[in-house]
């Protein structure tokens, strides 16, 4: 088993940050509550995957990040192209340029698994999305296994595991004095050559503590429950706040708009932007003429669950949910996707 000492890992990360873009979990916000503590949550900080300049900025002691990895492959807002009008009045489009090679360090296995869904939608069906494709291609994923499943996590119920190596290029698992290293892909191998890995015999990997596993509804149960009054009951609580989509690693709905911005230098830039959107929004389906085929709360809420567990598997042959638990934690009215799944799974098939 390959192994790296903590100090060697830090040195490698510091070197990497000099050579390319390094994204890693990092604490964001003021250290109000417990200055000097190494635990961001104890300080009232939140952890995000962000670009860092070295190992010192990386948060090592965290559960899950506030936002998933999605924002680095499909940014919250991105410019597709700028529109320039030349002196002759003719428009010229400038597409967003290629990004630098990146290492995404410390991605949790569930977030990496979430990229499967985005891959299936954005790349798996022609025509591929070129913006997503270039970010994905330029990025090497170095996963950091969870030592345990956290509160609200249910990855083991949807086919994942806190230490799954399936969707990363390299996986690190914390052990005494450093990390066990699994090099998974060729891309990972290329990156690992610079890590200075040691070969250690008889390295014992810790067994992560798991949350209780539950059974998912069957396809028949999903089909039979579509017009059930159940959705009205759950929907009654929903505020249409959209936070569930915002924190979700697999939600991919987007809006496209043109906008004009004036730079501080007075330059006028016209651009077409793509931004995250959510099927939970009231106006999500509203057409210009005013028609809204999904005007009711329960229709919108139902769409989110069916999208994850019924539509995505059919349309893209991928699991639509990775069990990261963020939507459970984030929902202001305690709509708990685990409860919904178990409620439906208890039903008699029609």
């Amino acid at each position: 088993m390959k192994f790296i000492e903590i100090r060697a890992l830090h040195e490698w990360l510091d070197r990497l940050a000099q050579e390319m873009t390094l994204i890693a979990p990092t604490a964001v916000g003021p250290q109000e509550k417990a200055p000097g503590s190494r635990n961001p949550a104890a300080q009232g900080q939140q952890v995000f995957y962000r670009q860092v300049e070295g190992a010192a900025q990386i948060a090592w002691d965290f559960t899950r990040t506030a936002l998933s990895a999605r924002e680095h492959f499909m940014p919250k807002t991105e410019t597709l192209f700028t529109i320039e009008t030349g002196p002759d009045g003719k428009a010229v489009l400038h597409e967003t340029k290629l990004e630098q090679p990146r290492v995404f360090f410390g991605i949790r296995p569930c977030d990496a698994r979430g990229l499967r869904v985005l891959d299936a939608v954005m790349l798996g069906q022609e025509p591929a999305d070129v913006y997503y494709a270039q970010r994905r291609e330029n990025t090497t994923l170095v996963g950091l296994a969870c030592p345990q499943m956290w509160e609200d996590c249910f990855c083991n119920s949807v086919g994942g595991a806190p230490d799954a190596a399936d969707d990363v290029d390299i996986l690190l698992i914390q052990v005494e004095g450093g990390f066990a290293v699994q090099v998974v892909t060729e891309k990972g191998e290329r990156l690992a050559t610079g890590m200075g890995l040691q070969e250690v015999e008889g390295l014992e990997l810790p067994q992560p503590k798991l949350n209780e596993q539950f059974a998912l509804p069957t396809q028949q149960q999903w089909l039979a429950s579509f017009n059930d009054v159940y959705w009205q009951r759950v929907g009654d609580r929903c505020l249409s706040c959209r936070i569930c989509s915002y924190v979700c690693p697999t939600c991919r709905c987007f809006d496209v708009r043109d906008e004009t911005v004036v730079t501080p230098q007075g330059e006028r830039i016209v651009r077409r932007v793509r931004a995250w959107d959510s099927c939970q929004g009231v106006n999500y389906r509203v057409q210009a003429g005013g028609a809204n085929p999904r005007a009711n709360l329960e229709q919108r809420l139902r769409n989110r669950f069916y999208c994850k567990y019924y539509y995505v598997p059919i349309d893209y042959a991928a699991d639509g949910c990775v069990g990261c638990g963020r939507c459970v934690t984030a929902c202001p009215v305690n709509i708990d996707i685990r409860e919904v799944l178990q409620d439906l799974a208890r039903r008699e098939p029609a």
Binding site: L80, V121, P127, R257, D258, R285, Y306
Partner: protein, 281 residues
């Protein structure tokens, strides 16, 4: 980027526009680049495109014509002034640069319908995506049987393509019926819902396919009436619309259950629609 970027529009020029009905105009666009024009000019009746006013935004519209070998591949769309992009389109001067993405979506399987009698039912601006169907059948007149066109609108001023009715009516083996929902001053034609005139005209279901486009509620009731006349759901085609932001199955916007209007449609058989998990109404 060497790959084709499906989110990047082709640039084109607004070469013509004319009023069609109250609030509705026809817009004619020619793509600027000859190579792109060539590549684009293969669109089929029923497909759609995204029309961009650069700096304002883009929105999807069905093609209102078929590529015309005589006139060159001029793209025509009928646009109702209702939203923020369509208001900007209506304000464009001739010669303006616009963006076009497409052709997108599936199309009416007109090749498969050769030899059949065709009933075309258009309501309001829903007639726009059916105009290419009529143009196609009239261009390949011998390949099809009897053509029945039933055209409807709420009021006379909302009827689209009125200046082409004479040409359609006088085509061989073709009949056309026009109706408005309520009586209007100066209107001497049919009055009543499209379903009423459909029942009166009563086209035979034998060796026939009906193609409908209009507001969802019209599609629904026309389907019911066609059923009464003996048409099966496999003899009814329709085209649906939905809010969209990509047109290529990525933005997630237009789903009806697991179906995407942009990729699985916009053209559907009634038999498909009735198995949709989620209603299109």
């Amino acid at each position: 980027m060497s790959e084709v970027n499906p989110m990047r529009p082709y640039l084109g020029t607004l070469v013509g526009t004319k009023p069609l009905a109250t609030g509705i105009r026809l817009f004619q666009v020619e793509l600027n680049d000859p190579e792109e024009r060539e590549k684009f000019s293969v669109w089929r009746p029923g497909q759609f495109l995204f029309f961009s006013v650069l700096g304002v935004g883009e929105a999807p519209f069905g093609f209102a014509n078929i590529p015309d070998p005589q006139r060159g591949p001029v793209i025509e769309v009928a646009i109702n002034k209702v939203g923020h992009v369509t208001r900007a389109i209506h304000a464009l001067p001739l010669g303006a640069t616009v963006g076009i993405r497409g052709p997108l979506g599936n199309y009416f399987p007109l090749e498969e319908l050769k030899g059949q009698n065709i009933v075309v039912l258009g309501g309001g601006i829903g007639g726009a995506p059916l105009r290419p169907v009529i143009q196609y059948i009239l261009r390949h007149r011998d390949d099809y049987g009897h053509l029945t066109i039933i055209w409807a609108a709420r009021s006379p001023d909302l009827l689209v393509f009125t200046d082409e009715y004479d040409e359609w009516r006088s085509a061989p083996d073709t009949e056309m019926h026009v109706t408005i929902d309520r009586p209007a001053e100066g209107w001497t034609g049919n009055v009543g819902l499209i379903t009423e005139i459909l029942e009166k005209v009563a086209p035979s279901p034998e060796n026939a396919t009906a193609i409908t486009c209009g507001p969802p509620i019209m599609i629904y009731f026309v389907g019911k009436t066609l059923g009464k006349l003996g048409f099966s759901e496999d003899q009814m085609l329709t085209t649906l619309e939905a809010r969209m932001h990509c047109g290529i199955g990525k933005c997630g916007r237009c789903n009806l259950g697991e179906k995407l209007v942009c990729k699985d449609g916009p053209v559907f058989w009634q038999s498909e629609i009735s198995t949709f998990l989620e209603s299109f109404l």
